[in-house]
């Protein structure tokens, strides 16, 4: 019973929905604020993502003609819950994650779910822009999956375990560094942030897959996006940062990881123009592939 209770707490409060949403919104705000400051602007107030979310919740939602109502409403929630579920199994400081062998694989699966939901949302919403966005997102996912998966798998290979908790405590080595480079490379594309904001390139295809979404489903997608950031930060923390075993220090390291990711993403965002699909693909298959290959080689050799 307590196990179930701890799962429910893990799902709803920490590291699941509520705390992650709060932190995620905070990081989203930080991104916007930092972007604004780097562009010499004032930027949005502190609570902005939260109010955006609440406002969207309070709107009447419209389903576009000829699209499946069920999928239209279901997709954002699948995206959200799988992200929360992914957060739940991460051994973050203070969480009662149910650790089991191969939870890394489950995590990778769950991380892919929001992408699939976005792709499907693009198709389901009947928007031509959404469909183009879905195509782009699918192709992009193929591109950045190369370094992302390679880095995770190289780590697992080197540590000889597929259990997140064990990976967290695995010793630091050359493979960690190279895998980190590969992982970091994939982050902007995973978050659809510049220069890889290709599936949601506003001046080409509007909001892409979310073009037709509005009201609460859109709010849930936004929340899910904030949580995806948390999931990435969490994964990065678990895979690349050492666990000290002390909750308070771990939490500090975790927060610092969040700031670092935000800074990285913002920096990439403000200093670049958007790539086209072709150039992004080339980037990831060449440089990402190189990093991936290097990580794999180091993992296998060591």
């Amino acid at each position: 019973m307590t196990e179930i209770l701890s799962l429910i707490v893990g799902f709803l409060i920490w590291p699941g929905l509520i705390v992650a949403a709060a932190l995620g919104f905070f990081y989203m705000w930080l991104m916007r604020k930092l972007t604004a400051r780097m562009q010499g602007r004032k930027g949005p107030p502190f609570y902005q993502p939260f109010f955006d979310f609440v406002k969207l919740v309070g709107k009447r939602s419209l389903v576009p003609r000829d699209s499946s109502r069920v999928l239209f409403f279901l997709l954002p929630f699948i995206s959200l819950t799988s992200t929360v579920f992914g957060l739940m199994i991460l051994p973050l400081p203070g969480s009662a994650a149910p650790s089991f062998s191969g939870d890394l694989v489950l995590l990778l699966y769950l991380m892919e779910m929001p992408v699939l939901c976005d792709v499907l949302a693009g198709f389901v919403s009947r928007s031509i822009y959404g469909q183009v966005s879905a195509m782009r997102e699918a192709v992009m996912s193929l591109a950045y999956s190369v370094p992302l998966l390679a880095s995770v798998i190289a780590l697992a290979q080197a540590a000889d375990t597929f259990r997140l908790a064990e990976l967290h405590t695995a010793p630091f080595g050359l493979v960690t560094v190279i895998a980190f480079i590969a992982f970091a490379m994939a982050i902007p594309a995973r978050l659809k942030s510049n220069p890889f904001s290709i599936p949601n390139a506003e001046h080409e295809i509007g909001h892409g897959a979310h073009m037709e979404y509005n009201g609460l489903p859109l709010a849930v997608f936004e929340l899910s996006h904030a949580l995806e950031l948390m999931l990435l930060i969490g994964t990065l923390y678990v895979l690349f940062l050492p666990g000290t075993g002390h909750v308070a220090t771990d939490a500090l390291v975790y927060l610092a990881a969040g700031f670092a990711v935000v800074a990285l993403v913002v920096f990439a965002k403000v200093s670049t123009a958007r790539f086209t699909v072709k150039s992004a693909l080339r980037f990831y298959w060449l440089w990402g592939g190189l990093a991936a290959g290097a990580a794999m080689v180091v993992a296998i050799v060591s």
């Binding site: 576009p64 000829d66 699209s67 999928l71 062998s101 191969g102 389901v124 697992a156």
Partner: protein
């Protein structure tokens, strides 16, 4: 020395199927085409029951041996039935039964040839049971070519159509030539070991690299592994039940059986394991990448078969107990979902008269049952949790991870993403969105009840074994793996999680997630939807799009083509075609010579030449 007519239960499945086939011919004059279908279904169902009856006997790695009659001292018709055999028998007959049930409705409108069809189908399934039961390699080869021949006839069922006969010919060409490799391997084994009985330890000792590679090449051709996969899209001109059977149960799985059986024969792994692993990985990628570019529903499924077979081969190539178990589980799981998908494709074609994704769309409103069945199977093949596909992939990934095959994990992962994309595209193009203009005016109807049951059962099984894989793992997979000489130490739990501890929570959690999503989405819909009747237009920039403008599967495919340009450039097909035409030319010339010479010796020379060609190719 025949003691009884059916000396051992081991023969029953085969006997029932062949018996059914004979009955089919005998009663052809009395039965309607529906009646013929029911007859075939009953025969197969009986064979299924007989296969299940064999299950208790093979638990724990035990096996049955039985001899029907002795031909000649050295070549007895003997059966060696172990867990692996039973697994394939059950799979073949179960899928066969369901597909035949589907065929009752599907073939009802066929004007002629139904006797031929059902006869061949029964022989086809019977051939598989014979293949997996035979103890003598010669008998195995006979069965191997028997199902090859059946598939030739079935692919060419509509022999009046040029593309059907061409396809059939290509199927025969590629698989048959590779089959000579099998024969050569058997002959070499016989030369070294002096026996055709594979369970003889002498055979194990005689496994050389050459033999292993020859066997693998034969299996690769049968199991559509790269680069011998190119015949499979051609086989799509067959009636859909044939494609379903070919892809899901009987034909392509013969190669899987052979590779798995090699574990029982001897330790082939050092000789060919790495080779097979490379081939498997390439197959996964090539299959799915070509699948992305397809617009014909059946061709799309066919290329997914290629990639899925790559997964299975990878499991076999890993060669650990978990790997083989994963491969066998995957085999069954693939049989289930691919069979379902093909039956759905069949029912779509039956209803709309087309299977071109560009011409489909909006079928959900017309064919809800088919849609749901398709959705389940598509989820399964994409590896969505709580379906067999997830469990199978999970097992495979775990096996690869355990074995340290990180590259395999990566490739498998990558391919599963592509698979999901591909199915997303197919699903949306076919079932959702606006009905395509080319469907206008057609009377689109839902599949007939027998068709629905046929595909419904497989779909249900996809979910059942996805939620509770242990029901499949423990009684069916375990004996098969143990029969191959592995030590069974795998415990599977709900949702496909390999149990050590605590995994039940994850499965519960997964169910909770889905329930939560559905409830929350429903609540959200109820809370925030606008007044009824306020459906709004899709935003298209202010002016409506031209009529019928939408992104079709082709556009996705073309985008994929841009991404995978280098891969498409390496299509080995022209090579085979050139080889084939060259061979045809040579055969023609030789045939003329033969006619002129009236000498049978030349035909033997021809076969020898073909073997030589494969040999050169294989090395």
């Amino acid at each position: 020395m025949i003691t009884t007519l059916l000396p051992s239960p081991a023969f029953w499945p085969t006997a029932l199927l062949f018996g059914g086939a004979i009955l089919e011919v005998l009663l052809a004059g009395f039965l309607s085409s529906r009646g013929k279908g029911w007859l075939a279904f009953i025969a197969t169902a009986a064979a299924l029951a007989a296969s299940f009856a064999l299950l208790p006997a093979v638990q724990g790695g035990a096996h049955l041996e039985a001899t029907a009659f002795l031909w000649d001292g050295g070549a007895p018709l003997t059966y060696y039935v172990d867990g692996l055999s039973v697994l394939f028998m059950i799979m073949g007959t179960a899928l066969g039964a369901l597909i035949l049930m589907f065929s009752i409705g599907y073939m009802a409108d066929e004007p002629s040839g139904t006797t031929r069809f059902f006869f061949l189908m029964l022989i086809f399934i019977g051939g598989l049971t014979l293949l997996v039961g035979a103890q003598s390699l010669l008998m195995t080869y006979f069965a191997w070519e028997l199902i090859g021949l059946c598939s030739y006839f079935l692919v060419g069922f509509w022999y009046a159509r040029q593309e059907a006969t061409d396809g059939a010919r290509k199927v025969l060409l590629i698989t048959h030539i590779a089959g000579f490799g099998f024969m050569a391997a058997i002959l070499m084994i016989y030369a070294q070991a002096g026996t055709f009985i594979w369970s003889d330890p002498k055979v194990a000792a005689s496994l050389s690299t050459t033999i292993v590679i020859l066997l693998l090449v034969a299996s690769m051709a049968k199991s559509v592994l790269f680069p011998l996969h190119t015949w499979i899209p051609e086989a799509m001109n067959a009636p859909t039940p044939v494609s379903a059977l070919l892809h899901s149960a009987c034909y392509v799985k013969a190669g899987v059986y052979l590779i798995a059986r090699m574990y029982a024969i001897g330790d082939w792994h050092p000789a060919g394991g790495a080779f097979l692993l490379v081939v498997a990985c390439l197959t996964m990628i090539v299959g799915v990448v070509f699948a992305l570019a397809q617009t014909d529903l059946k061709r799309l499924l066919a290329f997914h078969t290629v990639s899925q077979l790559g997964y299975i081969a990878a499991g076999l190539a890993i060669g650990t107990d978990l790997g083989v178990a994963a491969a066998l589980y995957y085999t069954i799981s693939h049989a289930l979902f691919k069979g379902t998908l093909f039956l759905c494709a069949g029912s779509i074609q039956h209803a709309t008269g087309t299977r071109d994704l560009r011409e489909l769309g909006g079928l959900y409103s017309k064919m809800p049952v088919t849609t749901w069945v398709w959705l389940i199977a598509a989820a399964a093949i994409s590896g969505v949790p709580l379906t067999t596909g997830f469990v199978a992939k999970w097992l495979l990934l775990s096996a690869a991870l355990d074995d340290g095959q990180a590259v395999v994990v990566m490739v498998a992962w990558f391919v599963s993403i592509l698979t999901a994309f591909s199915f997303m595209k197919a699903t949306v193009s076919a079932f959702y969105g606006d009905p395509s203009p080319s469907l206008a005016g057609k009377h689109i109807h839902e599949a007939t009840p027998t068709m629905q049951v046929g595909m419904g059962i497989t779909a249900v099984l996809c979910v059942v074994f996805g939620i509770a894989p242990q029901f499949l793992m423990d009684p069916v997979i375990a004996p098969a793996v143990e029969g191959l000489g592995f030590n069974w130490q795998i415990a599977t739990s709900w949702g496909g999680v390999l149990t050590r501890a605590g995994s039940i929570d994850v499965s519960l959690g997964a169910i909770g997630v889905i329930v939560f999503s559905v409830v929350a989405a429903f609540g959200a819909y109820q809370l925030t939807r606008s007044r009824p009747g306020t459906a709004v237009n899709v935003f298209t920039g202010g002016e409506s799009l031209p009529e019928g403008d939408r992104l079709s599967a082709t556009d996705f495919a073309e985008m994929a083509e841009v991404a995978f340009e280098p891969v498409y450039k390496t299509d080995p097909d022209p090579l085979w075609l050139r080889f084939g035409s060259w061979l045809g030319a040579v055969a023609g010339k030789v045939g003329q010579t033969a006619l002129w010479a009236e000498d049978k010796f030349i035909a033997v020379t021809l076969a020898g030449a073909a073997v030589l060609c494969v040999w050169i190719l294989a090395l």
